[in-house]
Symmetry: C2
């Protein structure tokens, strides 16, 4: 539920839903990062320029799965979303999503997140 | 050390080094997966066609980091490698790598792995 709330806020251009559930030690990769981003304040800075610029009309989490081991849980899913471009056109995108949660001081926080696009055609020949 | 041994074997076309450290519950994403792959036998099947086809001349792990919480550890790093193409040409690639290890019956096994390319130019405008 926390995850859906964060995704909903993200879809309205508000990264704060994710920042609220990131632990101080968060490590992060996505399709635009030049190297791993380490730590909550670095993530706040990373999201700042895109605040207000993202619009997701619709998203669907595919086969979310949780692998829990004690106070750590790995949440993985594929995500299909419809991003609204500045010109109003919609772009369908498919993502691979990994989030690792740890229970810190009684609260589940994200200690690592990794986003990538699912089998993008331009990368088909790279492996 | 286990990780380097697996990477070394991978670079010689042998995925068995990774298969040996994947737990039965392994979940997996990379740049070619159409959706998350679940379970060790699915991974064995997934790697079968590329067995013997990969040649990595050189690789470098950049800033490996371990976030350990009890019996779970998240290993992340960027990887630069020089893949040897079938025509002998070398192709430099940069990866984002996430591996989640859990201590199962006293042994550290990989329960989740996510590979993506670092900021590929063809994806620069997608976020």
């Amino acid at each position: 539920m926390l995850r859906r709330a964060a995704l909903d806020r993200w879809g309205h251009g508000d990264p704060q839903g994710f920042l609220d559930i990131y632990a101080p030690e968060i490590t992060y990769f996505d399709v635009a990062t030049d190297s791993r981003i380490d730590g909550h304040s670095a993530m706040t800075g990373y999201y700042r320029p895109i605040r207000g610029k993202i619009r997701i009309a619709h998203y669907e989490m595919i086969a979310p799965k949780v692998q829990r081991h004690g106070d750590v849980a790995v949440l993985t899913y594929n995500l299909h979303d419809e991003a609204v471009q500045p010109d109003g056109k919609q772009l369908t995108m498919s993502w691979n999503s990994t989030s690792v949660y740890a229970r810190l001081h009684g609260e589940w926080m994200v200690i690592h997140s990794h986003w990538s696009l699912t089998a993008p055609p331009c990368l088909r020949r790279t492996m």
